[in-house]
Symmetry: C2
DNA sequence: TTGAAAGCGATACCAC
DNA sequence: GTGGTATCGCTTTCAA
C-alpha cells in the first residue's frame, strides 16, 4: 500500500525560537510550563507560538519521550459484542475523559482468540501507552499483555479472582440485591430469578445479589426458583414457562437483564397471569427496551457512561504511577410498571 | 500531568543492520518491500528482524514520513448518539478494515458544536491522516476540516446536496421503496407512513422511497397518510392514533424505524384492530427489538457493518489518492409476522 | 544495488 | 536561566 502524505504544514520550535529570539530549548521549556524561564521570554515565546498557530507534533514528542499519548480500547469481535448499546456508551465515557486529558483512544475491534494473536503482538509493540479491555472473556491475552508491563484496565470484573489487574465494574451484586429486596418489600413471597450466563461475572454477581437479598431478609434460597438462562429472550421464555409450571405460587421474578424480563412477561401472560398483579417482574439494564415495552419494565439502572469515565480515569492514574483503585459503581432501581 | 514512560525496549534498524551485516538503509528498503535489494541480503535482513522480534516504531515513521497511520473516527456527543447500537456495529466494521491495513482508528466522541471547537483544531493539526464522521448534523466543522485538505469520509448522506465530500450510506430510499412496495404487493390499498425526523437525510430518503413506490405503482400519494414523527415511540404512537382516526380504511403502515413500528402496533391494538390481519406494519432497521417483539416485526435490514467497511475502504482509497467512490448499500426486507 | 548521512520535531543533558 | 547539541527510529536523497 502506497500512501501519500497529507501536509498541513505547521510551524515548529525552530520558527518559534527565531521569532521570539530565543533558543529551541527555551521554547520547549516555556511550552512545557517550566517556571524558571524569565517572564519576558515566556511571554515572547507564547506570543510567537500563538502568532504562528503552533500545534505540537505528537509523533516527534512520542519519538523523543517514548510515550505516544494513545491508549488502546480493545473489544472482542464477537458478532454480538458491539451491537450491544452498552459498549457505545462506555466508549463515549472513555473518549470524553481522554480528550480532556490530551490522550486518545485507539479503538480495536478484533477477535481476542489466541494469546499470540496480532493484538497481543501489537500491544506489546509499544505503540500505545496502555490498554482498556471491554468485554473480558479471554483472560489469556490480557494477562500476557499486562505481564509485559503495559498498563491495563478492565471493564467488568475479571474471572480470575486473584488477578491483580485493576478493573471497574457496575455493582452487579448490589443491583441484584436491590431488585430482589424491592420485590420482597413489595410483598412478594416467592421470588424466582432468571440468571444470565453464569460464565460471565456479571451473571454470577447478579445471582449473588439475589441470594444475598434472601440472606438479609432471613429467607432460604429455594434452588427451584433459580432458573439458569443465558441473557437471551428464548432461553428466558423457556425457563419461565418451566418455573411457572413447577412453582405455581411464584409472585415475583428478577431477570438478570431486560430482554429476559420481557421474555418472562410474555411467558407469564401466555399462561394467563397478569403483570404485575399476579407476578411482579424486575429487569436489569434500564435499556431502551425497558422504557418502550408495554408494560414498561421496572429495572436496575447502571451508570454506564460512568464505567467508561472510571476506566479512563483509572488508566490516567496508572500512567501517572498512581496506585490503581478498583471502582465499583452503584446501581439504582427504576420503578416503572412491572413491579 | 506528569506521565512516566512505558518502555518495552525494542530492537531498531541499527541492530538489525548489524546482525544482517548491511546498512540501515538496506534494512529500510527490505522492510518496505523494495524489490531492488539482492535476494540474499533481503533474506538476511528478514531473518535478523525476526530473530530480534522486531516491531516498527510508529512514531519514528510518522515523524519521518509525515503520516501517522491514524484516522479519526468522530461521532457527535449527543446523549443518544452512541447509545444507538447502530454505531457500535459501524465502528466494528471500520476497525476491522483498518486493522487489516495497518491503520488505526482514533475514536473521538465529542460535541461538534462550533467550527472552531477543539476537534476542528485537532484534526487540522496533522495528528491524523484522515477523518470519518458518523452522524452528520454539523456540516460546518466537517466542511472546515475538509477544506484544510484533510481526507474526510462521511457516514450518512450529507445534507448539502452539492457537497463534494465522499460519503457512504445505506440505501434509505431503496429501503422505503422496498417496504412500501411489499405492502402493496401484499394487497394493501391504503398505506400510511410514519416518517423519521425530516431534518435527517435518512428520514427524508425513507419518505422519498415511500413516495416513489406510489409512483411506480401508478398511485397517488395521499398526504393525509404521511404522518411526520421523529423516530420516537411517543411521537409515532400519537401520530398513528391520529392517522387511524382520520383514515379508518388504512390497511398498511410503513414506519421509518422499528421503534415507531412497535408504537404503531400498540396504537392499532389499542383501537381494537389486528396486526397484520387488519393493518400490516413494516419497520426499518432490523433491530433487536424487531426480532424480540411479539408479533415479530417485518422490517428493512441494512448492512450496517458494511457501512463501516465501505467507509474505511473509501478512506484508504483517499489516502492512496484514488478517486473517492460514493457507496450506497442495498437493503433487504426481512419478512416476519407483522406484514 | 548499496551505504553514508541529512533530516523529521521535540526533549533533555550539559555547560555556561 | 539559557543555549548548544545529541538523541529518539525511520526515511530518503545523493553518491558511489
Amino acid at each position: 500500500m502506497t500512501l501519500t502524505p497529507t501536509s498541513p504544514s505547521r510551524s515548529t520550535y525552530a520558527e518559534i525560537a527565531t521569532k521570539a529570539g530565543v533558543s529551541k530549548a527555551t521554547v520547549s521549556r516555556v511550552l512545557n510550563g517550566d517556571e524558571r524561564v524569565h517572564p519576558d521570554r515566556t511571554a515572547a515565546v507564547i506570543a510567537a507560538a500563538e502568532g504562528l498557530g503552533y500545534r505540537p507534533n505528537r509523533a516527534a514528542r512520542a519519538l523523543s519521550t517514548g510515550r505516544t499519548g494513545l491508549v488502546a480500547v480493545v473489544i472482542d469481535d464477537e458478532p454480538t459484542a458491539l451491537s450491544d448499546p452498552f459498549w457505545g456508551v462506555v466508549l463515549a465515557g472513555i473518549s470524553r475523559v481522554f480528550l480532556a486529558n490530551d490522550l486518545h483512544s485507539l479503538l480495536m475491534v478484533t477477535p481476542l482468540g489466541s494469546p499470540d494473536g496480532a493484538i497481543a503482538h501489537y500491544l506489546e509493540g509499544g505503540e500505545v501507552d496502555g490498554a482498556i479491555f471491554l468485554q473480558v472473556h479471554k483472560d489469556e491475552v490480557i494477562k500476557k499483555v499486562a505481564e509485559q508491563g503495559l498498563p491495563v484496565v478492565l471493564i467488568g470484573r475479571p474471572f480470575d479472582e486473584d488477578s491483580d489487574i485493576p478493573f471497574v465494574d457496575n455493582d452487579n451484586r448490589g443491583g441484584g440485591l436491590q431488585a430482589t429486596k424491592y420485590l420482597f418489600d413489595r410483598g412478594c413471597k416467592q421470588v424466582a430469578t432468571l440468571t444470565g450466563d453464569l460464565e460471565a461475572t456479571a451473571g454470577q454477581d447478579r445471582l449473588a445479589g439475589y441470594k444475598q437479598a434472601h440472606i438479609e431478609a432471613g429467607r432460604e434460597v429455594n434452588n427451584d426458583l433459580v432458573a439458569q438462562a443465558n441473557w437471551t429472550f428464548e432461553s428466558a421464555k423457556i425457563m419461565t414457562l418451566r418455573l411457572l409450571a413447577k412453582n405455581p405460587d411464584i409472585d415475583g421474578i428478577f431477570a438478570a437483564n431486560d430482554i429476559m424480563a420481557i421474555a418472562a412477561i410474555a411467558a407469564i401472560q401466555e399462561r394467563g397471569r397478569r403483570v404485575p398483579d399476579d407476578i411482579a417482574v424486575v429487569g436489569f439494564d434500564d435499556s431502551l427496551l425497558s422504557q418502550t415495552h408495554r408494560p414498561a419494565i421496572t429495572t436496575v439502572r447502571q451508570d454506564i457512561i460512568g464505567l467508561g469515565v472510571a476506566a479512563a480515569e483509572t488508566m490516567i492514574g496508572l500512567l501517572q504511577d498512581h496506585e490503581p483503585k478498583i471502582d465499583v459503581l452503584a446501581t439504582e432501581i427504576m420503578i416503572r410498571e412491572t413491579a
